[in-house]
């Protein structure tokens, strides 16, 4: 079941009161129009997703499969994994604990009503030294829920924090 509501309840239903899904306001440029002081819907979704993803990853990796669908594709350090099952298998990594700390994140709406979220941060697995990483998610609204259709992960080589 794809995740639609994170614990902090800031998740906006794509057809909820506060705004449509990205594409329904008249195409790509339309999504950028907003009232002063409003946080655009795609920013809210992107932000919520990121928060939820790393919370899951750090605390209960087994639940990660919920945010992907069978058509999802993960590119992990240059290698591709297709489908929920493959991605979940990757998630069963040989370390006990892991912590992510995000140092930068940003979002943009895409022309086909998706949201691209980019994250740069640091991670620490067990007692290993801290490593930099960056990750990119492409979020899509499918059947009234936002799922991750593409995920790209890379360790950062040039900056180890």
């Amino acid at each position: 079941m794809p995740v639609t509501r994170p614990r902090d309840s800031q998740w906006m239903s794509p057809t909820g009161r506060q705004g449509d899904s990205c594409g329904q306001r008249g195409g790509f440029p339309g999504t950028l129009a907003r009232e002063k002081g409003d946080k655009p819907i795609w920013e809210q979704i992107g932000s919520s997703f990121i928060q939820h993803y790393y919370q899951l990853f750090d605390n209960d990796r087994t639940q990660l499969g919920a945010i992907y669908i069978d058509a999802s594709c993960l590119t992990w350090e240059g290698q591709q994994f297709q489908g929920k099952a493959a991605i979940v298998e990757l998630s069963s990594l040989p370390f006990q604990k892991i912590q992510h700390s995000i140092t930068a994140q940003d979002y943009q709406p895409t022309p086909d009503s998706c949201i691209i979220s980019m994250v740069v941060g640091q991670l620490k697995a067990d007692e290993d030294p801290i490593m930099g990483f960056h990750q990119m998610f492409l979020l899509k609204n499918i059947s009234d829920a936002w799922v991750c259709t593409n995920d790209m992960f890379r360790l950062a080589l040039h900056n180890f924090g």
Partner: protein
Amino acid sequence: MGHSDQVVRRRARRWDMYQMRFSSVFQPVNLGMHSSSHQQQDGHAAMQGVRVESPLRYTPYAISPSHRRVSFLKQDQTHVNMEREQKPPERRVEVNRPHGTLGSWFKITIPFGIKYNEKWLLNLIQNKCSVSFNPVEFRYEKMNATFFVENASVASALKNVSGKIWDEDNEKVSIFVCPDGIPHSVQRELKSEKVEQVKLAVNHQQALDIQKLPIYSDFMTCDTKMAPNPRKGVAASLHVREENTPKVMSSGETDKWKGTEPGEKCVDRSPVCTTFLDNSSNINSILELFPKLLCLDAQQSPGPTLCGLEAHKRLPTCKGSFFGSEMLKNLVLQFLQQYYLIYDSGDRQGLLCAYHDEACLSLSISFNPGDSALSNLFKYFKDNRNIKAVKDPDLRGQLLRHTKRDIVDFLGALPKTQHDLSSFLVDMWYQTKRMLCFSVNGVFKEVEGQSQGSVLAFTRTFIATRGSSSSLRIVNDELFLRGTSHQRTQSALFTLVPTPFSSSMPAFSQEQQKMAQGFSAQSGMNFQWSQKCLHNNQ
């Protein structure tokens, strides 16, 4: 141009031929087009079994009608009748010179010039150019238009035209000049023993005109294998099986590495074919980007606590750049090469043609308070859209640049840079017929201002639409900047001057090994990764 029926029909025919020429990009043909002389043949061969796309789709960002080209396939006899427009006489110029003499040749490249009709383009340039020039061997190479001229002052005059001419979409046309190109027809005239003389002459010419002409990066392949640090966790668990190790194209110099210790072969670099006087005297194939491939070797002796775990749960191998297919790889690499050529040229207005009208761009910076490189990022702070730093929705709205003019103006105000394309790691993570998404990681150096010489790392994600001409237009551009972590790597030589006649890179010297070891000890990185970082910044 008139709008008579005749003209319209001619245009339609040209468009069909043009389509046929490039419909091969939609077919899984062998597109290992490394030399321009083979390019046309491949395209022609590919056309045989290719179904032409029809009917023509409306593509608002495709080539505008006035710029559609005639087919330039010389072997394409069936279309000879349609080429009544005639190739301009210049294209069939045989170089009439005494046998054995050379003159100084320069290759002129117009990035993204594939959109323009040859005659139109040459007229446009000539109208602005202070001297008249004789273009030799005009051709389209992938996304560019190229030709040769035979005079340093002509080349210089052409260089001055760059950025001062506009196409019909009001986008700047850039012109790049390279001193090392020699047309095929000239090459053929020279005997082999003259080749060495030519090399020297070109090199000398290059040295003389170096201030006037742009420097092209020398892009090297890298066959890099690194062993992980034998520790638990993410790094330790990454390993590669030998048969999965990507093989890197080299120019046949791998035999130099025979006899080295297995451990010493961790970092070896074989240069791309760098002689400019072979059959592929094509600056673009030479400059073709081969991102570094990164692999982690199998761990020799895993720690006892890991044995059981590793048997069941192996992390996937770490590979280098990822592309969906050879064709897409060529497309993306070439696009990046063009993009950064203009980006580093000093006039980023030339990037207008790389962006969609409604494109978006944002910039984010990440840093840690203790970063020694923090001061290098100060100038980017005002444009930083990192949500960790900027929460006000109105400000965030302003910082999201929208429309290509806004974007290119913004980019133009950023410091002048020099990107190290050999450091690029590219991931193509999503593609459809209409869209391509890819991310690039690498380093660049600032080449002016207070932080001149500082090296920054970046990750940049592009989402681009694909036109029917295999052109890409960026619709989303997200740029993340961060400092590079170690002073020593920053201060190491950051050489991007082309060395067309150099041999392969030497193995690390003793001193460099010591540097890498010291770096490794301080940063906690394993030794091989330290070597890589060191090498990246050389």
